[in-house]
């Protein structure tokens, strides 16, 4: 068994609403080359196993894992696919290295959301085919139900949610990879059209295309490959009820449980004290607030107030989604968590450019699999 595992290389294409000049394979190759160059490894020689995250209906191909190896250097090597978020993928690579059987493992995730012409209908096909799908409802209704109950139980206001949009899209202006940067006011956000009241369209992340690949290594290899290893202190993942009828509508239980698992590994008792920067799921604005509470950064009902007060802005108490989050970078389907973790890696290395936060030693990334799932993951990284 190998105890310690580090991220030793990262590569990313940047994100845009469309990417018509390249196929998904060419896009993934671009991220892969950057990551392997960053890590100083040759995938054909050095990388011993590969993990990818993908969903068939997002790709338009059944058993999509078929098409994953060539563009990541994985042909005729141990490659497998997880139908999870990118953070599930990182957790998988982490486990593979910890077995002692592999020293260097790569993890890839991407989005070609722009290629799905009927994304909302594809998403609706994830609803229970007997209980829910006959109602023929756009899946945003699930977020609407969840947000309403969350606001009701916690006393969070609509303005609090809008403040998340203002912050994250403003942060995105400092991120050259983020296509949705904007300088908005709370009124701008609230005056947009409704998706599923109380959820507004401007509180929902647009989709983007892009790819991310990361290289993980065991402690021995990591110290040989890089002088800036980013250590995995903890990885947690969890599922709440799959059935809409059985879940707790107000709370992100999956995030609570995933955080519990990750904190236990990392030996963290007081997250707010221990963690210097966080990148959390904000595919819907209220999700960021719900996540901050589930992750134990504050008590229930406080996240919105802290956001309005600026506590989660860059260079404040706990900078959250300095990258711009999904609201600023776009919803990347299975790659969302990788984008969150990518920012944490840059911050911990001190390579985040104009948006670099000072004195960061421990960072947290969190993700959610989107409606109608109740599945998410948490990763804790340190420099």
């Amino acid at each position: 068994m190998q105890e310690r595992v580090a991220i030793v290389g990262v590569g990313c294409t940047g994100f845009r609403s469309i990417t018509p000049e390249q196929s998904y394979k060419e896009m993934v190759y671009e991220a892969a080359m950057r990551a392997y160059t960053d890590a100083g490894v040759d995938p054909r020689r050095d990388v011993e196993s590969f993990v990818t995250v993908a969903e068939d209906f997002h790709e338009g191909t059944s058993i999509f894992d078929e098409y994953t190896p060539d563009q990541i250097g994985g042909a005729l090597k141990p490659v497998h696919t997880i139908t999870g978020d990118g953070l599930h993928g990182i957790a998988t690579a982490y486990m593979l290295i910890r077995t002692g059987q592999f020293d260097i493992v790569a993890i890839e995730g991407h989005s070609k959301a722009s290629n799905i012409k009927t994304l909302s209908e594809v998403t609706a096909y994830a609803q229970d085919p007997v209980l829910n799908r006959p109602l023929k409802l756009n899946s945003h209704f699930i977020a609407g139900l969840e947000m309403n109950r969350y606001l009701f139980e916690t006393g969070t206001s609509h303005e609090h949610c809008a403040a998340v949009v203002v912050k994250n899209r403003y942060n995105a202006l400092n991120n050259p990879f983020a296509p949705y940067g904007a300088d908005l006011t709370i009124e701008d956000v609230l005056s947009g059209s409704m998706l599923s009241w109380p959820l507004g369209k401007r509180e929902t992340a647009e989709h983007s295309d892009g790819a991310i690949l990361m290289v993980l290594a065991s402690e021995d290899k990591a110290s040989y490959l890089t002088d800036k290893p980013i250590w995995i202190l903890g990885a947690g993942w969890n599922n709440d009820s799959a059935a809409l009828e059985n879940r707790d509508w107000a709370h992100a239980i999956y995030a609570e449980e995933a955080a519990r698992m990750a904190y236990r590994q990392a030996g963290i008792n007081n997250p707010l004290e221990a963690i210097d920067i966080a990148e959390v799921d904000d595919t819907y604005a209220y999700k960021e607030l719900q996540a901050l509470e589930a992750l134990g950064f504050c008590r229930e009902g406080e996240a919105g107030i802290l956001t309005v007060e600026g506590f989660t802005s860059p260079d404040s108490g706990l900078p959250v989604n300095v990258s711009g989050g999904s609201l600023g970078m776009g919803n990347l389907l299975e790659a969302n968590g990788l984008a969150r973790a990518y920012e944490i890696v840059l911050q911990l290395r001190g390579e985040a450019g104009a948006r670099q936060v000072e004195d960061v030693n421990i960072g947290l990334a969190q993700s959610w699999r989107g409606v109608p799932s109740s599945s998410g993951a948490v990763l804790i990284l340190a420099n």
Binding site: T61, S62, M194, L195, E245
Partner: protein, 153 residues
């Protein structure tokens, strides 16, 4: 990142589809739940004595302990609005002319997702009691749509 130049006459996209057509059985629990809904206009749950939870709609297993559930209970047709939303978009993402009121109506420890009717948006609130409005027996087919909608009590 590549050395090759794209043929300037290349088509940018290739259009296609996933031709997926499915037939779903209702399963062990669904069979009894929906037969009872259709034939008797009753909503059934199942109870797990070990976890002290009542699943609605009825399930054949407890998701917590995986025990088989044999204890069927009638939970009535009136439940509490646990949460609701006004949905402004269609299945395909286009705007609805008039938003639909969608609610999660609590029965036992579970409940049903459905539409609300016979009410206007201003009157809907969390905690209100609503009742299932069934289609006439001759029009029921054994479906969640055998309930037309829920209306305030």
């Amino acid at each position: 990142m590549v050395l090759l130049n794209r043929d300037p006459n290349s088509p940018i996209i290739w259009n296609g589809e996933l031709p997926i057509t499915n037939r779903y059985t209702y399963g062990l629990a669904g069979e009894k739940f929906f037969r009872t809904l259709k034939d008797e206009g009753r909503i059934l749950g199942t109870h797990c004595p070990h976890c002290e939870r009542t699943y609605v709609p009825a399930a054949i297993f407890c998701e917590r302990c995986l025990a088989k559930l044999n204890d069927w209970v009638d939970v009535g047709t009136t439940g509490e609005v646990n949460t609701f939303t006004f949905l402004h978009v269609n299945l395909n993402g286009s705007s609805l002319e008039k938003p639909e009121i969608i609610a999660f109506v609590r029965f036992g420890d579970g409940g049903l997702i459905h539409r609300l009717g016979d009410t206007n948006p201003d009157q809907v609130e969390i905690g209100m009691m609503v009742q299932a409005v069934f289609k006439p027996p001759s029009k029921r087919i054994g479906s969640i749509l055998d309930i037309d909608y829920f209306k305030p009590v």
